[in-house]
């Protein structure tokens, strides 16, 4: 009888452990459910800080799958627009009303002088499709219990960073911090989410700060002023004609 009870207890412990365990992929999947955008309309502000000097850029973006259309509204860049279709980026210069296709190498560049590259802003695939994940621990970050996940790029995947370490809120499944590494193991960038909000039933990072670790005293704060998930986007929005 004692053996049966002991067996049942062990089985219960094993069963409950199996049910409770969550894999790195599941965590990322749940994070993607929150943070991956199928379509959205976003109004945002970028504050670029360099040794105490600040530049502010504002933009309105429409996003749908791999496509995005952004228009800058701050005075310095007013009317400048970007159209992203798959891996191609087109730019509209408002003064002469020119549309020029940007060379691929320009996508590595900091977007409008920020620490976010065009590629950072344009990567539209789900992380789960680009990286192999490993749950390396659980830590508290900024008072929130987090899963610590290490991601290494899938061979052949085209990504900006070889490795990422992410702190993901255990309750809300939203990334609170992410360190981005080169293949050499060198830390390149650090993104810290400073404000999150629950919108239309999903947690989303509304304010984050990116620090480029290869430059001194620079950071870019990215603030989402408003976001609407799955808005109605008219047909033909993501076209060269709509840039004009």
């Amino acid at each position: 009888m004692k053996k049966i009870i002991l067996f049942l207890m062990i089985a219960l412990v094993v069963f409950s452990t199996t049910v409770g365990a969550i894999t790195a992929e599941e965590i990322i999947q749940r994070r993607d459910d929150n943070e991956f955008i199928k379509s959205a309309r976003v109004e945002s502000t970028m504050i670029i800080n360099n040794s105490g000097r600040e530049l502010e850029k504002k933009m309105v973006s429409l996003i749908e799958g791999d496509n995005a259309l952004s228009e800058f509204t701050n005075s310095m860049d007013r009317g400048t627009k970007f159209l992203k279709r798959d891996d191609n980026l087109w730019m509209f210069f408002p003064d002469a009303e020119d549309i020029v296709k940007l060379s691929g190498h320009m996508l590595e560049r900091g977007m409008m002088g920020s620490d976010f590259s065009y590629k950072d802003m344009m990567e539209s695939e789900k992380l789960i499709e680009l990286y192999n994940f490993e749950l390396v621990g659980e830590e508290e970050y900024n008072g929130r219990p987090c899963y610590k996940i290490e991601a290494t790029k899938v061979e052949g995947a085209e990504v900006s960073y070889y490795k990422r370490i992410a702190w993901i809120d255990k309750e809300r499944f939203i990334g609170l911090r992410e360190d981005l590494y080169a293949e050499s193991g060198r830390l390149l960038k650090e993104i810290v989410v400073t404000r999150t909000e629950e919108i239309q039933g999903r947690w989303y990072p509304m304010e984050s700060v990116m620090e480029n670790k290869l430059r001194e005293n620079t950071s870019t704060t990215f603030i989402i002023n408003s976001i609407e998930f799955n808005p109605e986007i008219p047909e033909g929005t993501f076209s060269l004609e709509s840039l004009q």
Binding site: R78, D98, H105, A182, L240
Partner: protein, 355 residues
């Protein structure tokens, strides 16, 4: 049609208003003397969904001859209207067929992008019809209204295997000049290098019927320091080959403005079959706010060069400081030479404020 457009196109209530205020100093250095002038100019833009207006006003005071000039000009004043799939724009508007080159010989207006600077040549009184075929392909037809000549332009643009391709045709007929240009351009990527080019045929039938061909090939590349994630060094180079005959004089406007030599001198000074021009641009981003670079344009026939170092610093969200120096290395007879008309060097310091 014009009346119909004016009646049916009422500017929408949604609008954007803004502009730019520039102030600067120009110093021109000649062999024996130099001239300094200060200037201020303001650009005002008022954009509605279906109409755009822009004016520019400039004050210029030349210390050398104590001359004061004021100029005000309408830069843009046009309305837009959409008939089914066709977009129509009517009025003074920019017509620009850029594709990323430093100099564009297949542009609607020649000289519109000389030395990568915006010029008033882009702004014309015209009716433009644009018909998009799909998200990346379109047809454009431009009919310009000018008392001195009749000019039409046609452009077909598409994307094939991620290469931006266009076919351009421009025909201009006036009392002084009849000519047509037919050209193609492309821009795309070859691994990590951006490549582009154009082929142009110019037919000048003003006097003798002269056919001139011009070819261009260019490339650009970014090198990032610190394992590819640090500051950027940007390189751009362009090679132009112009068939040397009477026809090419019309194309010279695209190569950095009027050269000190007369047209006849120019024609006589080249004994090769082709005029060969090389352009280069190197820019280094010092940080998020400032960059330094140098732009060069060289005649490979006589070795003369225009050298233009530049520095730009965005002081805050609205204010930018630009410093440019232009230096001509050639002799009077050279393609980029100095002489009676052109200074040896020009220094421009400008502060811009946007609002």
């Amino acid at each position: 049609m014009i009346v119909f457009l004016l009646i049916t196109t009422t500017p929408s209530l949604a609008y954007q208003f803004g502009g730019e205020l520039n102030t600067g100093v120009n110093s021109l250095f000649y062999d024996n003397t130099n001239q300094n002038s200060i200037y201020e100019n303001i650009n005002l833009d008022l954009n509605f969904d279906n109409a755009n207006f822009a004016i520019t006003a400039q004050n210029n005071y030349n210390y050398f001859n104590k001359n004061y000039e004021f100029d005000i000009a309408l830069k843009k004043a046009y309305i837009k209207h959409k008939f089914k799939d066709t977009q129509i724009t009517l009025g003074k508007q920019p017509v620009s067929w850029s594709f990323g080159s430093l100099i564009n010989m297949v542009d609607y207006s020649l000289g519109a992008e000389a030395l990568d600077e915006e010029s008033s040549a882009k702004y014309v009184n015209a009716l433009e019809l644009r018909y998009p075929i799909n998200w990346y392909s379109s047809l454009s037809l431009v009919n310009e209204f000018n008392p001195d000549y009749d000019k039409i332009g046609f452009r077909a643009r598409t994307l094939i295997r991620d290469y931006d391709l266009s076919l351009n045709y421009i025909n201009k007929e006036g009392s002084n000049q009849n000519s047509s240009r037919l050209g193609i351009s492309f821009k795309g990527d070859l691994n990590n290098v951006g490549i582009y080019g154009s082929i142009l045929n110019l037919n000048n039938n003003t006097g003798n019927n002269v056919n001139t061909n011009a070819y261009m090939f260019g490339a650009d590349y970014s090198y990032y320091l610190n394992e590819g994630y640090g500051n950027r060094l940007y390189f751009q180079g362009e090679y132009h080959l112009l068939e040397n005959n009477e026809g090419f004089l019309e194309l010279l406007n695209s190569l950095g403005g009027n050269i000190s030599s007369s047209e006849e001198q120019l024609l006589n000074s080249f004994d090769s079959d082709y005029l060969k021009i090389m352009l280069g641009n190197v820019t280094y981003n010092i940080n998020d706010f400032s960059s330094i670079g140098v732009f060069t344009i060289t005649s490979l026939d006589d070795g003369s060069t225009a050298l233009i170092p530049n520095y730009s610093n965005q002081l805050n969200s609205n204010t930018t400081l630009n410093i440019n120096i232009s230096y001509l290395s050639g002799e009077e007879k050279d393609f980029f030479g100095t002489g009676q008309t052109l200074p040896q060097a020009v220094l421009n310091i400008e502060l811009s404020y946007t609002f």
